[in-house]
Each structure stands twice: as structure tokens, then as C-alpha cells.
């Protein structure tokens, strides 16, 4: 990288930081304070269809996650109520998000990161689903329609991130905003019920300093600006899935 590029890089980075600082400064005047510190979400009126004007995504700065993402995973679990199945054993319990520890075999460099559905732009799970129950919303959120999923589990075979779980038993005490069901497949849905309401996903709220949530299509969003400035990698970028979840520091 020549000096000019480095300068440009530095400038972009400072602008982005400035942007974040500015948002944080005006945030107290908003109701959703933490929400706005970590990204911008506008409520989607319920009578309006989802459009492809936005593409939701997030950047997780692994270097700022002191717990490797454990709080994020816990928040997700609490929000959606997965993982407390009574009869299923550890391998059978649902898991929407998890903390993965990575150690380079050669250098022994090590870090931890939370892994959930990466909301791929070209999702293999959607391609293989015979009934179309696995679907990608126009705004990039990938989720399962619980009413048309037949539980064939082909999507689980196809997902490179092990992001999906099959529900092995009858469930009690479900969260009204996150219906689940025996015999169907489920995965992180980017807290679609919150995002449509103008709120941030639960995991993002749990780690406001480390995660930026927002619209990847909008070059001026804090997310796009931060990504431009500090960069964000995809897990298994070689597969060409163009994931909506990006990581910094991996």
C-alpha cells in the first residue's frame, strides 16, 4: 500500500469514527439510545411490503468483544427461547448462535467469534429447500417459514456454517414473537420482529460497542461507512455466498 492509499484509508477511518461519535452525541435525544449507537433501523410500517431497497447486515468487531460473543449468544437465546428443550440431548438441542474459538495451526494466533446464520446473499439453504420454506426476504434476511417447512433437513446439509437446527421435540412456553415448532428447522432470523419495528436485533443490543447493524445498500449508513473504513471479512469467503454478517479482526 503506498502512502497515498494509507492516507486515504486513515481519512476514511477517521470520518467513520466521526460519524459514529456524532450519532452517539445526538443519541440521548432518541428513545432507542443504544439502538442508534450501534446502527440505524427505521420501523417498517406493517402494511408495507418488504423491499430490496435495504439489505440488512452487521459488522462484528471481534477485537472489541471481550467475551468472544457470549453475551450476544445469551441475548439471542433469551429473545427466542431456544436451547431449553427438555428431552433432547446436547447434540439435539436447538442452537441459533454459538461462540467459536479459532486457533491458527501454524501461528497459534487465537480469537473467538459468535457464529450464527450469516444471511447469505446466495444462500445454499434457500436453493435446496424443496418447498420454498427457506426463504430470503427482499431486505436480505434469511429465515424459515414454519408453516411450509416439511422438516426434510436438506437445508441443514447445505448450510456451510451449521447455522440451522431441527426441533426434536414438542415445545412449551414459546415466545409469541418467535414461533417455533416440532419437526421443523429454524435459525437466526436477524430478529426480524424487532428490525421491522425499528429496533435492533437482540444480539446487537447486547454488544453495542462491538457490533454495527444497518443497511448494506446505503453507502452512507454507519455500517457501510465502518465497513469501508476498517473492513470486514466473511467466514468461508471462498464459497462466494456474499454474507450479510461480516467480521473485523478475524
Amino acid at each position: 500500500m503506498n502512502q497515498n492509499r494509507v492516507d486515504e484509508y486513515r481519512r476514511n477511518f477517521m470520518t467513520a469514527l466521526g460519524g459514529v461519535a456524532a450519532v452517539a452525541a445526538v443519541a440521548p435525544s432518541f428513545v432507542l439510545q443504544t439502538a442508534h449507537a450501534a446502527g440505524e433501523v427505521a420501523a417498517k410500517p406493517a402494511d408495507q411490503a418488504v423491499t430490496d431497497a435495504k439489505r440488512w447486515g452487521m459488522l462484528i468487531d471481534v477485537t472489541k468483544l471481550t467475551d468472544g460473543g457470549a453475551a450476544m449468544v445469551a441475548a439471542c437465546k433469551k429473545e427466542h427461547g431456544w436451547g431449553d428443550e427438555i428431552h433432547s440431548d446436547a447434540t439435539q438441542k436447538a442452537h441459533w448462535a454459538r461462540v467459536v474459538k479459532v486457533t491458527d495451526k501454524l501461528t497459534q494466533n487465537s480469537f473467538s467469534l459468535p457464529v450464527m446464520c450469516q444471511h447469505c446473499e446466495n444462500p445454499p439453504c434457500v436453493d435446496v429447500c424443496p418447498t420454498g420454506a427457506s426463504m430470503k426476504r427482499a431486505d436480505g434476511i434469511v429465515q424459515v417459514n414454519k408453516h411450509t417447512c416439511i422438516g426434510c433437513r436438506y437445508c441443514m446439509m447445505a448450510c456451510p456454517y451449521k447455522a440451522r437446527s431441527f426441533v426434536h421435540e414438542h415445545l412449551i412456553d414459546q415466545k409469541a414473537h418467535s414461533p417455533r415448532g416440532i419437526g421443523t428447522v429454524e435459525s437466526c432470523n436477524m430478529c426480524v420482529h424487532r428490525v421491522d419495528n425499528g429496533q435492533l436485533p437482540a444480539c446487537v443490543e447486547a454488544a453495542p460497542d462491538a457490533v454495527t447493524f444497518g443497511d448494506l445498500n446505503d453507502p452512507n449508513s454507519t455500517l457501510s461507512q465502518t465497513l469501508k473504513a476498517i473492513g470486514g471479512k466473511q467466514i468461508r469467503a471462498d464459497l462466494g455466498l456474499n454474507t450479510g454478517v461480516r467480521y473485523h479482526g478475524i
Binding site: E85, H87, S88, D89, T91, Q92, K93, A94, H95, R98, V99, V100, K101, V102, T103, D104, K105, L106, V115, P124, V126, D127, V128, C129, P130, T131, G132, T148, C149, I150, G151, C152, R153, Y154, M156, M157, A158, C159, P160, Y161, K162, R164, S165, F166, V167, H168, E169, H170, I182, G183, T184, V185, I235, R236, D238, L239
Partner: protein, 402 residues
């Protein structure tokens, strides 16, 4: 040149018929019990989990489906390639194909998380999905095989015999390519993602389908006291050897290329050398018992015309086929997904470790139920309709052979 006409006849009423049905019925009942158990409690009663999502029922289902398309081959050789000696067996070949397919599909459907939503699967299609394509392919296969049988049984539509045979044959090739592609298109899993999967499954189907056909043909004849000569059986015998050889060839190609491709080297090493039960199933189950043993039984000079040797060869070919499917299906899932190439990963959710799977008795019962359903359909089929030639003795089947 006085060749005798082939006469088809239903099998006779007899004690044996009912005993056979009773035994198969018991397996059917066990299969039904297994289904209701999993349906009532959920899949946690099975051995499958969120790492190994396709278990023993899938091995049975895919085994039966693969054998189905292969079973049709005997008929196809007679119709499409005009080999006269195979033609009298065409009806049984198509009946067996239909029965195997239905047996396999029932296992597949009953192992779904929501089998009650079958109607959804039949009415909402995502045409990008190979699975959705397969649903259409299976239904088409059933329809074409039925038409094929019709052209063989009804003199009035005899004119369409060849056409129906060619259509069914072409369809079955596409069908098995589709079954193989279910795996071949999975980019996520190092062991599957390969174009060889489609042809491999086609050759596997030739071998397994023919092996099943040989066994069914033999027992259908010996249990009903009909004559089945060596002319027919020896044709099938050498054909079986060719198919087993084909599977070995493609498997060798698959594993050798896998060992060379860095991305696949890990999983190849796992399956071929370090995978414990999967490695044993591969070398002992598939290669030794499932391929080399049948080949020696077929080619051993002392065993020419030996019926028991042929039956054993067929049975072991089936054993080998199931071992192969188990290694592909379960072994392929047991090997962990690669999240970060070149790094070690760990988590509280089994990242970076070999996934474990122990099939439950319920899954075995469900799978055997599918096999029993297949055999019930064949047994009743040959009883009520004219599927079987009265005699396939050498004099009838191949008068020119001597």
C-alpha cells in the same frame, strides 16, 4: 429352432404365500410402530441430531430408491437394447422397480419432521431445488414404469412397448443422476461436493438393483416350484460383475482425486484411514465383502453354475451397497464442517470434532419396514397379475444357447 412360447402366470395360492406375508407383515407393523413413536415424541427418540441430520432411515431410503432404478435395467436391456433373453423378465423388473421406489419413498416421507405436510411438498415447488426435482422425477418414474408394464401385458398396446421401454430407461438415468446430485451439489461439505456423485450413483444403482433382482427372481421361482435355468442366471451373473467393477472404478477415481485436492484431503484421510467405524465399513464392508467377495464368487471357476454362490454374491453386493451409502451419508456428515481452513476450531456446539451418531432401534425398524413394504408389493403383485413367466428353464428362456 422350436422355441417354446413364454407363458406368464400368477403364482398359486399356498401356505407359503401366507407365511411370507405374515412375516413381512410383522416387519411392516414394527415399521409403523417406529413411525408413530417418532411422530408422537419427536425425533429426539432417534439417533439423529443437529450435526448428523440424515441418519439410518436415509441410508435405507436412498438404498431402496437407488436399487429401484437399477432393477428396471433388466427390462431395459431387453427392450431398449433388444436382448431377447432379458425380455421375459421385463415385467418383474418393472414391478420390482415400482415396489422398491415406493418402499424407499415411504421411509423418506415418514422420517420427515412433518410427514403430515406431504401435501405441501407435493404442491409447493422451489424449482431451484434438486429435491423438488426429485419429487417430480419419482412420480414420473412410477407412471412410466406402470405404462411400461401395461405395454408388456396388454396386446392392444404392444405397439408402444419399445417406446415405453426407452422412455422409462431414459427417465431412470435422469432420476439416479438426480439422486446423486442431491449430494453432488452440496458445496458446504467436503466429502460430497463433486460431479462424480451423479455417475457414481448410476453405477451403484445398476449393481444394487440387479443384485436385488437376482435374489427376488431366484426365490420367486424356487418357492413357487417353477424352473429357472442357468442360461438366464449366468447372464445376470456376469452383468453383476461388470456393474460391481464399475462402482469400484468410480470410487477409486473419486477417492484418488479427493486425496490430491487439498480441500478434500482431510475428509478423504478420515474416511480411508482414520475414521474408525467409517473406515472399517469402507474397507471391510464395501470393498472386501461388498465388492471383492462377490467378484470372486462370480469368477471362481469351481463355482460356475453354482446357484448358492450367485445368491451369496448378490446378497453381499447389497451389503456392500448399504455400507457404501452409510459411509457416504453418515461418514460425510460426521466429518466437521470447515469454517476456517488451516485453523483449529472449537465451541460448545461440536465445532471441529467428529460428530457422533448411533442409530436407534426405531430407525432400523423404520428402514426394515420400507424393505418389507417393497417385498409385500412384489409378493402380492406376482400373485394377482401375470408378472412371472411359467418357466425360465434353459429350453424356454434361451433355446439357442446350447
Amino acid at each position: 429352432m422350436a422355441s417354446q412360447a413364454i407363458i406368464f402366470r400368477e403364482t398359486k395360492d399356498g401356505k407359503g404365500f401366507y407365511i411370507l406375508l405374515a412375516v413381512l407383515g410383522a416387519f411392516l407393523a414394527l415399521g409403523a410402530l417406529a413411525f408413530f413413536n417418532a411422530e408422537h415424541h419427536g425425533h429426539h427418540v432417534t439417533g439423529m441430531n443437529n450435526q448428523i441430520v440424515w441418519g439410518l432411515p436415509h441410508v435405507f431410503a436412498i438404498g431402496l430408491i437407488v436399487a429401484a432404478s437399477g432393477a428396471l435395467n433388466v427390462g431395459s436391456i431387453g427392450t431398449v437394447f433388444g436382448k431377447k433373453i432379458y425380455q421375459p423378465m421385463g415385467r418383474l423388473s418393472a414391478l420390482l422397480a415400482i415396489s422398491l421406489l415406493i418402499g424407499g419413498l415411504i421411509v423418506l416421507v415418514l422420517d420427515l419432521g412433518r410427514p403430515d405436510r406431504l401435501i405441501v411438498a407435493m404442491t409447493t415447488f422451489n424449482f431451484k431445488s434438486i429435491f423438488a426435482w426429485n419429487i417430480i422425477l419419482y412420480n414420473g418414474f412410477l407412471a412410466l414404469s406402470a405404462v411400461y408394464i401395461w405395454t408388456m401385458m396388454d396386446r392392444q398396446v404392444k405397439g408402444y412397448y419399445k417406446m415405453a421401454g426407452i422412455a422409462a430407461f431414459t427417465w431412470r438415468l435422469i432420476l439416479t443422476a438426480g439422486t446423486g446430485s442431491i449430494f453432488g451439489f452440496l458445496v458446504a461439505r467436503d466429502f460430497y461436493n463433486s460431479a462424480v456423485m451423479a455417475p457414481l450413483f448410476i453405477v451403484m444403482s445398476f449393481a444394487m438393483g440387479l443384485a436385488v433382482f437376482i435374489l427376488v427372481l431366484h426365490f420367486a421361482y424356487s418357492w413357487t416350484g417353477r424352473q429357472l435355468g442357468n442360461a438366464v442366471m449366468n447372464r445376470l451373473r456376469y452383468l453383476l460383475a461388470v456393474f460391481i467393477g464399475g462402482v469400484l472404478l468410480l470410487e477409486a477415481a473419486r477417492h484418488f482425486t479427493g486425496l490430491y485436492i487439498a480441500q478434500k484431503a482431510g475428509v478423504e484421510n478420515f474416511i480411508l484411514f482414520e475414521g474408525g467405524v467409517y473406515t472399517q465399513l469402507f474397507w471391510v464392508g464395501q470393498i472386501l465383502l461388498g465388492s471383492l467377495l462377490p467378484l470372486s464368487l462370480i469368477f471362481c471357476r469351481k463355482l460356475v453354475d453354482n446357484r448358492v454362490a450367485l445368491l451369496l454374491a448378490a446378497a453381499f453386493t447389497i451389503v456392500g451397497g448399504f455400507a457404501q451409502l452409510y459411509v457416504i451419508l453418515i461418514g460425510g456428515q460426521a466429518y466437521p464442517l470447515t469454517l476456517f481452513p488451516g485453523a483449529e476450531v472449537s465451541s460448545d456446539y461440536f465445532d471441529g470434532v467428529i460428530n457422533s451418531y448411533v442409530p436407534s432401534i426405531w430407525e432400523l425398524m423404520l428402514g426394515l419396514g420400507g424393505v418389507a413394504l417393497t417385498l409385500v408389493m412384489v409378493t402380492i403383485g406376482v400373485k394377482v397379475l401375470r408378472f412371472l413367466p411359467d418357466s425360465l428353464s434353459d429350453a424356454v428362456a434361451d433355446p439357442h444357447s446350447k
